[in-house]
Amino acid sequence: MLNISLLILNFTMKIKRYLYIYSLTTSCKFYRLSIAQDLNFGQVVADILCEFLEVAIHLILYVREVYPSGIFQKKKKYNVPVQMSCHPELNQYIQDTLQCVKPLIEKNDAEKVAVVIMDKEHHPVERFVFEISQPPLLSISSDTLLSHVEQLLRAFILKISVCDAVLNSNPPGCSFTVLVHTREAATRNMEKVQVIKDFPWIVADEQEVHMPEPRLIPLKTMTSEIVKMQLYVEERAQKT
């Protein structure tokens, strides 16, 4: 629990740091030019997205009742209440996973990040797919405080928290996994660079990916200067 709260604090601080820099950049054109070169926008975007993904994954696990609601605790993020697990191992797993996702997002290599909920036989029943694409040229010029992005992310969170209304309920005993759909040739680098030791990416089994008769339920789309993302759920027609 401490872990999580620390983490959130950590993220918030990060955002603040960037915000500071951006507000600086816009006030002075000359500065902006020089800073834009030093600053890796991809990194910023990756930070923001991974933070969001962490919140989203926790919330999905809660909403879809993958884990008992007892392990979740209410927190506030993006100015809305969210549920976060306080199971240390689960949290560690999610963190590690996102740690590994981050470099991919940074390089715009991740096309989709999918949170897959699987039944007892490890067949996917539901897939929350975050489709991410970055504009060719990143520029954070107008939305200096990224408040607009925050609003959009909040909308995602809110949409996730009510998504059980449009989804059929899952069979008992589900588990989850995180899949990343990379763009071409990204996998090669992934094998080379292991972000976390002994926590490598492996190619997903056909069994984990294939879903018979998938139904697509679009949840939310956002378009912002730094990222274009949409969330949809793919649901197996027959869940039980």
Partner: protein, 1117 residues
């Protein structure tokens, strides 16, 4: 002798070193080895069984061979030859190798490199066989094979050598003097597997080039020997030199000295295209279209040049009895079996005999190539065909199991005598020969085709310039005016034309005449051969009723099958089918076309200029890749070919489609037709680029990605094509992207125009013939095409399209009566008619927000508008920007911009605005606070259209949807959050320019700032439906559409489908979901069942696209 092996290897590895350091030690060693060999040999010979067949032959074995070097050494000993452990240029006569690295090949140029089979076969044969057929590679001599090979380009990667499909090179005799660098010339694959021994003389299909002929003559006879004969496997055209020998027709392949690889692979393709004569013929149409265009522009500049043919006709006109004037008359001129009649033009001996033009000159049989299974392919095609027509009896089964099979060379054209015997165009020559044993084959004569076609066009152009080139031998003529002018009947004209063509070209032509294009074409069928036929309006009904549906243009075998499934065989049957049924079965557009065609109706016009919809390059001949790299390289070079064509056409495209043909699973690895693609699956993938492009590398990267996404093995590819769609003119659009405001301001020839008087402008679109020399023409990004080059022609469009032009007419109250009165009577009538129509149909005028949020930066005749009648009804919180003189628009050219939140307005910018603008903005914000947005919006009414040019396009646009707003054309809707501090960034370029013009000096402060802010990548426009992109607007639009109209128009439905597809492409599934759900509610509630049908249609289409993009379908609750 293992020692040999290792030492040899060392020598190999040492290469130059080994030779260079050849000092005492090496010399001693070599001579010692020689001695040893001779001793051994003498002993071996004594043992018996030896011979002297290899006398004088000294071999050196390089690399791994089968049989091994030891075995070869033994054989050489036995049969009087010499075996060198070390290679010596002076004394070694042959090098034995089955595989050589490239640098080795270069080094060994001029030497005889022979496969080991030569030794073993010679021993078997008991005599020294010619080494020629066993040569490992070809040292092509001279011009023909200076070229490049795809494989060789990848020598660095070098994986090809390890593959079973080896890169063996043919050798030619007397090639020792081959110039350096020429050796790695041809691309020749060979399967080393033993089953590929029985080979054939290569029959290069389709290209009777000298190269191929050379090869045939050199190697033909030897190849039939079993166990010989490398398979000549490459496209002859590929191996030609890059620079010379280019025929004059196609553009020279682009080659630069630098960037070798690019040029080489790129060269192959432009090579292919510049040499593939078939490709040239297909491009001739464009050439002739251009020729006609040229005629027109010449005529315009030079005034009325007398047309010789016309003058002559005029002179003889009195001889012809005048038949009274015909309303409209289209002539369809078609040469009779063009290729065949040109082919026998100079060969009177062939006249009256069955003749076919084909590349095959033999008896119609060729030897079977390994890996090919023509029977299987035949069966496949047969099955396909018998699906179409169950009555077809199975073709004479391929009884001959010998090595020769029926020639698969296609017949390009055959004479009427041959047709009488059942031979058809496109038939394989082998089969045709079976049907008609007397069939004579005539080779292609491309120069003659060109000459004859040119002569025909020149002849026709001497009569009139209203010509549409359909192909090299097929022309449509709009003879209406000509006949009126000359006062002669169409038949007389046709006779004159035919005689003229016959005289000038020596070939006969047939002419069909009718009141529209369709009838003219159908009449040609009846006119053939060598005749003319006039399909009179009174005969049309009877004539067309008897006609088989497949004879309608656009109805191919597939559609014919589908129709016969519906019980429709003739056009008469088709007339009984309801339009809605046809549209349901074939899609809205095709359905309607069918419905009209079967009644002899066709409203297409003879156009001498065609707007290109796509630019593409395809190759499906001789595509055999060995690896992904090759495929990529090929795609890259094909992309540069596409680039060349795009640039030639002056177009840029946004949608890139990769089409591939993949060997069908289970199909034979080698196609029966030489180099052909065999039985294939056709696949296509499309991607939409962020912006239109004509850059080859950009297209290439997109295509390569698509290719990888398809996950196809490169070996299985049999055809590759790249198509670029969604074209826009290259000249205007890109310039606008880059042009800064400053440049625009400083740019010459842009006089600021006062806002046009709405009253006087209104009527101009109807009086469409007027060319308006509107200065901001080039500024409009939405209208990419109207370059000045086209302008001379546009009045013609206007003239021909005027009568059935449907333009949204302003409401009566808005029209200046005096202007109306000044109009010609017929135009006035039309305007008035349309008012009455309008009253009957509720206007579904809609609100078009160009963008959710545009900066507080309005300009233009704002005050005019605000004081005008539009003010009371315009939704609050919007600004109307009016762009004068936007060509091609007769609709409202105002653009409604939603105001951003007041808090988002940058005070500095606001302060920089002129006072009057500030006032307007303030009042707009004021209104926003007070007023309720209104759904109905009379913006549709013509406000200021001055659309002299490009009315034809307007017609199209307005047919599609009367609610289409010009705002849609503007690359608009920026996202809300984009609201930058610089307004100019968000404004579409056209508005920017306008703004500059209107604001004059007061914007100078902006000008310094904006160029830097302009993003090099303009954000991609969000998809819009009739100009609307916000959900609320879409809802309003849809609601009005569904509630106000009882039956949806197909164009509207398609427009919605298009919008939904755009949303999917834009990855905005959320909005798609909302739109679909909203439509579902609306349309299924509607009382009319057509609406739920329309919804089903939309949903089906959307689900299909979603399925393609995501592999799943939308969940519909």
């Amino acid at each position: 002798m293992s020692r040999d092996g290792s030492s040899k290897k060392r020598a190999n590895a040492g290469d130059d070193n080994g030779w260079a350091q050849r000092g005492g030690y090496m010399a001693a060693k070599v001579s010692k080895l020689h001695e040893q060999f001779h001793l051994d040999a003498r002993e071996k010979q004594k043992e018996g069984g030896g011979s002297q067949i290899f006398h004088g032959v000294a071999i050196y074995v390089n690399g791994y061979t089968d049989p091994s070097a030891d075995e070869l050494r033994r054989l050489m000993m036995l049969h009087g030859g010499q075996f060198h452990v070390y290679y010596s240029r002076s004394i070694t006569t042959h090098i034995i190798a089955s595989n050589l690295p490239n640098n080795k090949i270069k080094e060994l140029k001029g030497e005889k490199v022979v496969r080991p089979a030569w030794i073993t076969d010679s021993v078997k044969a008991g005599c020294l066989l010619s080494y020629l057929q066993y040569q490992l590679y070809a040292k092509q001599k001279g011009l023909n094979f200076a070229g490049v090979s795809l494989l060789q380009n990848h020598e660095g990667a070098g994986p090809s050598h390890g593959l079973p499909k080896q890169n063996l090179l043919l050798n030619r005799p007397s090639s020792k003097e081959a110039a350096p660098g020429r050796m790695n010339g041809g691309l020749h694959h060979e399967k080393t597997s033993s089953d590929c021994r029985s080979t054939s003389a290569p029959t290069p299909h389709h290209d009777p080039s000298t190269t191929a002929a050379d090869l045939v003559s050199h190697q033909g006879p030897q190849h039939n020997h079993p166990g010989t004969g490398p398979v000549y496997h490459s496209n002859p055209t590929r191996t030609r030199p890059l620079s010379d020998q280019n025929p004059p027709v196609a553009g020279a392949p682009s080659s630069k000295p630098s960037a070798k690889l690019m040029v080489q692979t790129g060269g192959i393709i432009s090579e292919y295209y510049s040499h593939s004569r078939f490709h040239q013929i297909s491009t001739w149409r464009i050439g002739f279209s251009e020729y006609v265009n040229e005629l027109h522009s010449k005529r315009r500049t030079a005034g009325d040049v007398p047309l010789p043919g016309k003058e002559r006709l005029r002179r003889c006109a009195p001889q012809f009895p005048s038949q009274g004037c015909v309303k409209s008359c289209i002539l369809h001129v078609d040469m009779d079996c063009f290729f065949a009649s040109v082919g026998i033009r100079d060969r009177p001996d062939l006249k009256g005999k069955p003749v076919a033009v084909t590349s095959n000159r033999g008896p119609g049989r060729v030897a079977l190539r390994p890996g090919a299974n023509p029977q299987l392919e035949q069966q496949y095609y047969q099955r396909k065909r018998s699906n179409a027509d169950p009555g077809v009896s199975p073709m004479s089964e391929s009884r001959e199991q010998d090595t020769s099979v029926l020639s698969m060379a296609e017949i390009a054209s055959c004479s009427y005598e041959a047709r009488a015997a059942g031979v058809r165009n496109g038939m394989f020559f082998g089969k045709a020969k079976q049907l008609c044993p007397a069939l004579q084959s005539v080779p292609y004569d491309f120069e003659a085709y060109k000459e004859v076609a040119m002569a025909m066009y020149e002849t026709l152009a001497s009569y009139t310039h209203d010509i549409e080139a359909l192909s090299c031998d097929e022309v449509l003529i709009d003879a209406t005016t000509l006949l009126l002018e000359l006062g002669i009947g169409p038949e007389d004209l046709a006779r004159a034309i035919r005689e003229d063509i016959k005289e000038k070209t020596g070939c006969s032509a047939s002419v069909g005449m009718g009141s529209n294009i369709l009838l003219a074409r159908l009449a040609t069928r009846k006119a053939k051969p060598d005749g003319h036929y006039m399909l009179r309006s009174e005969e049309v009904d009877d004539f067309i009723r008897e006609l088989s549906v497949t004879s309608l243009p656009g109805v191919g075998p597939v559609m014919g099958r589908k129709l016969s499934g519906m019980g429709v065989k003739t056009c008469g049957d088709l007339q009984h089918v309801a339009q809605s049924q046809l549209q349901k079965a074939f899609g809205p557009r095709t359905g309607q076309t069918l419905f009209r065609f079967c009644r002899g109706l066709d409203e297409r016009l003879v156009r001498y200029e065609k707007e290109r919809k796509s630019v593409s390059a395809e190759m499906n001949y001789n595509i055999r890749f060995t690896g992904a790299e090759e495929a990529e390289a090929f795609l890259t070079s094909l992309s540069s070919e596409v680039q060349r064509r795009l640039q030639e056409a002056g177009q840029r495209g946004r949608r890139v489609t990769l089409k591939v043909m993949v060997r069908k699973a289970g199909a034979p690895a080698e196609s029966a037709k030489y180099g052909g693609h065999g039985i294939c699956d056709h696949l296509a993938r499309t991607v939409t680029l962020a912006q239109a492009t004509d850059s080859g590398p950009l297209i290439a990267s997109a295509v390569v990605k698509l290719y990888h996404a398809m996950k196809l093995p490169a070996q299985e590819l049999r055809g590759v094509g790249i198509q670029v769609q969604q074209l826009e003119g290259a000249r205007s659009a890109p310039e606008n992207h880059k042009r800064s405001i400053k440049e625009m301001l400083l740019g010459p020839g842009l006089p600021a125009r006062p806002p046009p008087d709405p009253g006087s402008e209104q009527v101009k679109p109807t009086a469409s013939g007027l060319p308006s020399g509107s200065p901001p023409l080039q500024l409009s990004p939405a209208e990419p095409v109207p370059g000045t080059s086209r302008d001379p022609h546009t009045p013609h469009h206007a003239r021909t399209t005027r009568l059935n032009l449907s333009i949204e007419v302003p409401s009566p109250s808005q029209v200046d009566r005096s202007v109306l009165e000044a109009l010609p009577a017929d135009l006035r009538e039309q305007v008035e008619q349309s008012w009455t129509r309008r009253d009957r149909r509720p206007s579904n005028a809609l609100h078009h927000a160009a963008g959710p949020s545009s900066p507080p930066f309005g300009s233009g005749p704002l005050s005019d508008l605000l004081s005008g009648s539009a003010l009371s009804v315009r939704p609050a919180g919007t600004l109307l920007l009016e762009i004068p003189n936007q060509p091609g628009h007769s609709g409202p050219t105002g653009i409604v911009l939603e105001l951003p939140d007041f808090s988002q307005v940058d005070p500095d910018v606001f302060a920089a605005l002129p006072r009057e603008l500030q006032d307007e903005l303030r009042s707009a914000y004021h209104r926003k606070q007070n007023a309720q947005p209104q759904a109905k919006n009379p913006l549709l009414q013509l406000k200021q259209p001055e659309a002299g040019v490009g009315v034809a396009r307007v017609k199209r646009r307005y047919k599609r949807k009367n609610a289409v707003s010009p705002a849609k054309k503007v690359p608009s809707p920026q996202k809300r959050h984009v609201t930058g501090n610089s307004p100019a960034k968000v404004l579409p370029p056209s508005m920017r320019s306008r703004e500059v013009m209107d604001n004059g000096p007061s914007t100078s402060s902006l000008n310094q700032e904006t160029p830097e802010v302009l993003s090099p990548f303009p954000p991609r426009a969000a998809p819009t439906l009739a100009g609307a992109s916000e959900m609320t607007d879409i809802r309003t639009l849809l609601r009005e559409w569904v509630t106000s109209i009882s039956e949806p128009m197909e164009e509207d439905v398609l427009q919605v489908v298009k919008y939904c597809t755009d949303l999917i492409e834009d990855k905005d599934l959320e909005k798609l979901d909302l739109v679909i759900k909203y439509m579902k509610r609306l349309m299924q509630q509607s009382e009319e069942s057509v609406w739920s049908m329309a919804f089903d249609f939309i949903l089906d289409n959307v689900q299909m696209v979603v399925q393609q993009a995501y592999g799943s379908t939308l969940k519909m609750a």
